[in-house]
Amino acid sequence: MIVAGIDVGSLTAKCVLFEEKVIAYSIAKVTPDLENTAKAVYSDAVKKAGVSAEYIVATGYGRNKVSFANLKVTEITCHAFGAKSIFPSCRTVIDIGGQDSKVIAVENGVKNFVMNDKCAAGTGRFLEVMASALNVDVSKLGELDEKADKPVNISSTCTVFAESEVVSYIAQGEKVENIVAGLHNAIASRIAAMAKRIDLKPDVVLTGGVAKNKGVKRALEEILQIKILVPEEPQIVGAIGAAIVGKNYASRGRKSERF
């Protein structure tokens, strides 16, 4: 059976067509019309795959707005299943998206989870704000991090205050590379504080769009003193998980819209 997993996050929508493995996927920016965003990203994946799905699962913030989905599941459950399917040794998932970050303890499904509070610190949004203050593209942050020799110390946890700290480092003539590495350390310490609330067991898998940033992986490994695995395309892990949850669910012949 071909299943589609659609993850409508706060910043991007992801769709995966899945049979025994990923057949095709698509990523698009979220527009205010979530239903249409989901349709567009689904059509795009179908076009790439040349087949359509028999069963559709929606996840992410916009899941309840996807009226054509057969099932709706939260991204917590989906990231757990997705990461576990890619790395069967996975016991912990750290997902850093655009607006949320979460640490999930995985056993057979979700054992426990913690999420960031309302504040944007510790999420992709934080890095986007800082990148724009530094006038660099977020996709370049990883390379810049590698070239840092003495990361600065960002003491504010609040995004607004941290931005003004960054601005003052720029004014002092600090190297951009060192500011970037300092920001990655700040985000990592924020995530580490969250991770302390649950039992962090190896292997740890990093997912979400921010996982593409090598600097965040570096900083997390340093602060948590643990090796971190990153899937080839970390941004679609939630969508993969959605498809897998859907497969299990449909094969058990269940009908309800909720997990």
């Binding site: 989870f113 999420m115 997990f259």
Partner: protein, 386 residues
């Protein structure tokens, strides 16, 4: 979809009468929720509860408006929203019984100290402040003596202001009534042990005002006995509060008043029943200790209340409820307003015997509530429990 209890209507009548009584009373004391109200009732002094009043405004979704009024005067947004809403109401001349004096006890928090000082300046009336030592591990004898002596002073204070005398017999009678009321209340709440449960914590929240405001009078005794009968009747007829109850949960902290109905429907539509909570149970634990000395009994009772004890005690209380009500998990409301209630929740979480989830919100201030974030946390938690 929510099954309304008949008690709700009776409660509304009872509380309307209670508020009317305030306007007709010669002497009114404003009082914090954790202060020994029995002394006031024994002296025929009417107790007015700003916290209850703010909760009412919160449930009516007017709390944020009045909180903003207080903020415009310079009160910080970090201050408890019961306090902000109350101060906002007072300066906006919302009709409330004017105080003859104020009675604040810090067994719930230290916010009430400054809050009541502000009220004292606004109304130009005297304030009596009862200081209860915090019980980190064990309650010591000298704590009881310390509070006992202040109670003696308080009685003197109240007698001088009102010109009335406290009769020892009347105080004992009032304590008896309070004890009976608490017992009736507890028995009604315990109906939540039934599977499926005939009531939800939301029913308990809606119907908690009488035990808070009228404790020490006949009213709560009759009210909660009837409420229990209604619940027994539901059990007999096989009526569950939530259809097809699959998951049973415990709620920790003050309810999110402006979202009571929304949360009730959220859980009910997911076959989940919140069968009990720590907030309403805080009053069910107010069993006045039986000592020969009445004031010592009162002192001990009011020192050892839920928000005035260390987290080991709090965790134990939660685990007791987990076992009594046989729940599958705990929803922990991290309440931006109430620091003593929310502080330590992450530590307590580790000590709870069943899975739990933390949601961040505020009991009265709607600006703090983020629906999408809360839905995701709660749904993920329910998925995890399945």
């Amino acid at each position: 979809m929510l099954k309304k209890m008949k008690s709700n209507e009776k409660m509304k009548q009872l509380m309307t009468n209670y508020y009317m009584m305030g306007f007709a009373s010669e002497h009114v004391s404003w009082i914090t929720s954790g202060a020994p109200v029995e002394i006031l009732y024994a002296m025929d002094i009417y107790p007015f509860y700003p916290e209850n009043h703010s909760a009412l405004f919160g449930a009516a979704k007017q709390g944020t408006y009045y909180a903003e009024v207080a903020e415009k005067l310079g009160f910080s947004r970090d201050l408890c929203s019961y306090a902000r809403c109350d101060i906002g109401c007072v300066v906006s001349s919302v009709n409330v019984p004017n105080p003859t004096f104020l009675f604040a006890c810090n067994n719930i928090c230290n916010t009430v100290v400054k809050w009541y000082e502000v009220l004292s300046r606004i109304y130009k009336v005297p304030l009596f402040f009862l200081d209860t030592p915090f019980v980190r591990k064990e309650l010591k004898e000298n704590y009881i003596r310390y509070v006992h002596d202040q109670l003696v002073e308080f009685i003197d204070f109240a007698e001088k202001i009102t010109g009335k005398e406290l009769s020892d017999l009347k105080l004992r009678k009032t304590l008896q009534l309070a004890l009976k009321g608490v017992k009736a209340y507890k028995d009604a709440l315990l109906m939540g042990r039934n599977k499926p449960s005939p009531l939800t914590a939301f029913d308990a929240f809606i119907n908690m005002a009488p035990i808070v405001c009228l404790r020490g009078t006949e009213y709560p005794i009759n009210f909660y006995e009837e409420m229990k009968l209604e619940l027994e009747d539901r059990v007999k007829k096989g009526i569950a509060a939530v259809d097809d109850e699959k998951i049973r949960l415990l709620w920790d902290n003050i309810p999110i008043w402006y979202r009571l109905k929304w949360l009730g429907e959220f859980f009910a539509s997911r076959n989940t029943c919140i069968v009990a909570d720590t907030y309403t149970n805080a009053w069910s634990w107010m069993i006045v200790k039986d000592k020969s000395n009445v004031l010592e009994s009162l002192a001990e009772t009011y020192i050892f209340i839920y928000l005035n004890v260390g987290i080991e005690h709090m965790a134990k209380a939660i685990n007791d409820l987990v076992n009594i009500y046989d729940v599958d998990g705990v929803v922990i409301h991290s309440n931006r307003s109430c620091k003593p209630y929310s502080f330590g929740q992450y530590e307590i979480q580790k000590m709870i015997e069943v899975p739990s989830v933390v949601i961040e919100a505020d009991m009265v201030d709607e600006r703090v509530f983020s629906e999408a974030q809360i839905v995701t946390r709660l749904e993920a938690f329910l998925e995890m429990l399945k």
